[in-house]
């Protein structure tokens, strides 16, 4: 991974406060997230592509909206399981990683990892759509300013390729791209 260190910079930290007690489990967040990220925008929807997932087990009263975080090529050495106020949550039930241990946060057809981008848009939105569509206020958007070291972000393509390389090896990925280019196929 290539990271370039930059000067200290002012940065807006975007936070979504998740109130589990207020969640009614409707999955509107998943619906609208996937619609927003469709190409063209809103042209399709599919919770399986959503960057927020309801980890939901009604009978056990488990209702946890989780946001897609970083992609990781290997799962953790162990798994965590939280018990809060006597209620047991699922294994990795609060984890945001797109990871080999589960199918969450991966494109269903390509397996490429997904990550929440807070509905980056031009012009910028006031708040992410999942928050707007959550009328029960289980998701609350907050911003604050922080001074941080800014790191140059990998382009989306690079993130995708890195994950493919992790999965299949560098050679196989290069071979495939070359072969496809030769055939004139554009995936």
């Amino acid at each position: 991974m290539v990271t370039v260190m930059a000067e200290k910079k002012k940065k807006i930290v975007k936070t979504i406060k998740v109130d589990l007690d207020k969640c009614n489990g409707c999955r509107a967040c998943e619906v609208i997230c996937s619609a927003f990220h469709a190409e063209p925008k809103y042209s399709s929807n599919n919770p399986a592509r959503s960057r927020i997932r309801m980890i939901r087990h009604p009978i056990r009263d488990v209702y946890v909206p989780v946001y897609a975080g970083e992609y990781t090529s290997a799962e953790c050495m162990g798994r965590d399981k939280y018990i809060i106020d006597g209620k047991e949550y699922d294994e990795c039930g609060f984890c945001r990683a797109s990871c080999p241990s589960r199918d969450a946060f991966k494109e269903p057809d390509s397996g490429l990892p997904l990550k929440c981008d807070m509905c980056e848009d031009d012009p910028p939105r006031e708040k992410p759509l999942c928050v707007e569509w959550c009328l029960n206020d289980a998701l609350i958007y907050e911003e604050r300013e922080e001074e941080v070291d800014e790191e140059v972000k990998m382009e989306d393509v690079e993130i995708g390729l890195t994950s493919l390389i992790d999965k299949y090896g560098k050679e196989k990925v290069i071979d495939t791209i070359t072969r496809m280019a030769e055939k004139g196929k554009n995936p």
Partner: protein, 662 residues
């Protein structure tokens, strides 16, 4: 590309174990939308009317609505259709929850079963992979329990499962189909599912649903959502609490049950307890409800909270919605709500309709008190009010002894028992148990809705016109001031003029013609909802809903790419309304059957009631026996139905009311 819909149905032949993915005709969508509309078309086409509801040829359909799975809030209903073993008419029962959107994402609009499986099976639909799997290990398991066992067995925590319990397996006529917090309860379709040997249908889908005009559709959905927010913050004033908000009645939220317990009937829909509610009861009921209610929950993509997770210590957790906390409690004359939550848990696992089943039991105990049923029929039955209801519920669901007779519902049980039992079957319409409500003065609008409803359940036809007049002119003005949903300004005037007493009051006001207009509007919204799969709780059912005649055509057009305006949508409604009526006409439904219970109102007006029916039929373009005329059908592209009626001699029949009096 097909928009909003997938364009494919899953056809499953249970006898041969054959599974087929069949492309559907886009023309059918243009004519009928989807859901109820296209289900009705298939039912009309595939089987002749003489068929028995338990014939292997019966197509049992699990359908999504046209908008299900799109971002349209509350578009999540599954419309299940076959013939009802109880009414013998078209049975269409619906459930909310999460099943229909999942089916769409798996790539199908409907699942259509035919034939019967020789062994108990469950169906596993995982995108393109569909399996018919052995369910012998699930025989007798609870409907809620089964959903969980299947998810575990498949290792698919995100699969949505619709299942029957013991009642469906045993073909109890009030058997429901349960799915999460939702159930398709009315008209016994759980029995048809059990008869076909299907214990459950599990589905998981990860495909896209496409939208024709993305930006427009998104804007329209956002407006709907904004209006829901506005309505949640602005309850309708001057009406009782449960009518103020959106959604189905917020029975899981509210604990004040003075109105229901003192105005609805106890036992076999007969006894009113006007002084039931007091401080002690109020405190106890509040305490009970709040202690068992773990969380208020919703269906797919809906901000409302009409359901709840119910955890009663010592018994397994289940989910509840609407009114069932009270139906068992009041039918059994039990003064503690604790009983309601406990017996509903068992009833939900058995998978029975929480409206009909308690009434059947109350009916049976009334017959016992009257000496029509004997002690021998109740051998082993405890004598306490709670114990005897548990005992009888077990007998009915297992079809043991008297339970076997009662499992066919009040109408058929009364016929079988005889000895005057028919007199006690006083609360049915078209052989189906009704809400335990008995009132004073005839309401002409409700008379028509009760009499002519094809769903045979008042909550599935009543809607957004106020149930009673407002007391003052100020209140009326306030009500109509932001009433954007009216399809025509004339409805506002009716509200302004409607009085409690005098010339402009029930039963002669709203006038006959106004009543017909009002009913047509209410029906229209329900028929559209049921074809789109949008929950009535956000549309046809509550006052001032977010979906209405003015935004629906735009929403449907943007989602599907169809070019639809209000007139076009009304035409589709009329087509679907007449198609459903035609199916039932072919099954023998006539004017003579269109009767609310005789004791529903104390004050009845036979002449006016005839005028109301005359006018309603005329408005619909039906003959005086409730049969759509040839001209009406042809104008709706339903000429094939008119031909069928002609061939069967339906137009040449003597009027049903005349035949009955002869």
């Amino acid at each position: 590309m097909r928009y909003a819909e997938t364009g494919y149905n899953l056809e499953i032949d249970l006898a041969r174990g054959n599974v087929e993915r069949a492309e559907t005709d886009p023309k059918a969508t243009e004519l009928h939308l989807g859901g109820l509309g296209t289900n009705a078309k298939i039912l009309w086409e595939r089987v002749p009317p003489e068929i028995d509801p338990f014939s292997p040829d019966i197509p049992l359909m699990f359908s999504s609505g046209l908008l299900c799975g799109t971002p349209a809030p509350g578009a999540n209903r599954t419309i299940i259709t076959a013939y009802s073993p109880q009414t013998l008419l078209m049975g269409y029962s619906m459930m909310g929850g999460f099943w229909a959107p999942e089916l769409k994402h798996a790539g199908y609009d409907k699942v259509i079963f035919r034939g019967k499986s020789p062994d108990l099976v469950y169906i596993w639909i995982n995108n393109d992979k569909v399996e018919i799997r052995d369910a012998s290990h699930l025989r007798g398991k609870g409907a809620v329990e089964t959903q969980e066992l299947i998810r575990q067995e498949l290792n698919q925590p995100n699969a949505q499962v619709a299942a029957i319990g013991l009642a469906g397996e045993n073909r109890v006529y009030t058997a429901s189909i349960e799915q999460g917090r939702s159930s398709a309860s009315r008209l016994g379709l759980g029995a048809v599912m059990g008869d076909k040997g299907i214990k459950a249908i599990a589905v998981r889908g990860t495909k896209d649903i496409n939208i024709a005009k993305p930006a427009e559709f998104y804007e329209l959905c956002t407006e709907v959502l904004k209006y829901i927010k506005y309505r949640n913050e602005h309850p309708v004033p001057n009406v009782m609490t449960i009518l103020q908000g959106l959604g189905s009645p917020q029975e899981m939220l509210h604990t004040d049950e003075k109105w229901h317990t003192e105005n609805f009937m106890w036992g076999n829909a007969r006894v009113r307890r006007k002084d039931f509610w007091n401080k002690q009861i109020e405190d106890r009921w509040k305490e009970v409800q709040e202690s068992v209610r773990t969380r208020l929950i919703s269906c797919y993509n809906c901000p409302m909270k009409c359901g709840a997770i119910i955890s009663v210590p010592g018994i397994s957790t289940y989910m509840m919605k609407c009114f069932s906390k009270l139906t068992y409690t009041m039918a059994a004359f039990v003064d503690d709500l604790d009983f309601g939550f406990k017996i509903a848990q068992r009833a939900t696992e058995y998978g029975v309709d929480g409206f009909s089943t308690p009434q059947i039991m109350a009916f049976a105990f009334e017959l016992k008190d009257a000496g029509i049923l004997t002690d021998a029929d109740f051998e082993g039955c405890p004598s306490d009010s709670e114990g005897k209801f548990y005992w009888l519920l077990d007998r009915i669901v297992r079809r043991e002894g008297i339970g076997d007779v009662l499992a066919d519902g009040i109408h058929w049980a009364a016929q079988k028992i005889g000895k005057g039992a028919e007199e006690y079957a006083h609360n049915n319409i078209k052989k189906h148990e009704q809400l335990p409500l008995k009132l004073g003065m005839l309401n002409p609008v409700y008379f028509l809705m009760y009499a002519t409803g094809e769903k045979i359940n008042i909550t599935q036809i009543e809607g957004q016109f106020p149930q009673s007049p407002f007391a003052t002119m100020e209140e009326r003005q306030e009500f109509i001031s932001d009433w954007i949903q009216v399809p025509d300004e004339k409805f506002k005037q009716i509200v302004l003029d409607w009085e409690f007493r005098g010339e402009r009051s029930n039963p002669y006001y709203p006038t006959v013609d106004m009543s017909v207009d009002i009913v047509d509007w209410q029906e229209k919204m329900h028929y559209i909802d049921d074809s789109l799969g949008v929950c009535a709780g956000l549309s046809s059912f509550p006052l001032k809903p977010p979906y209405h005649m003015h935004n629906y055509p735009k929403i449907i057009s943007a989602a599907t790419g169809m070019d639809l305006d209000e007139a076009g949508l009304t035409q589709i409604y009329n087509r679907n309304r007449n198609l459903v009526r035609a199916i039932n006409v072919r099954r023998g439904l006539r004017r003579i059957d269109e009767k609310p219970p005789q004791d529903h109102w104390k004050k009845r007006f036979p002449e006016l009631e005839e005028q109301l029916l005359d006018a309603y039929y005329k408005f619909k373009g039906w003959n005086n026996d409730g049969v759509p005329t040839k001209e009406t059908l042809e104008a709706l592209d339903l000429g094939y139905i008119a031909e069928d009626f002609e061939q069967r001699g339906i137009y040449d029949e003597e009027p049903s009311t005349k035949k009955a009096s002869a």
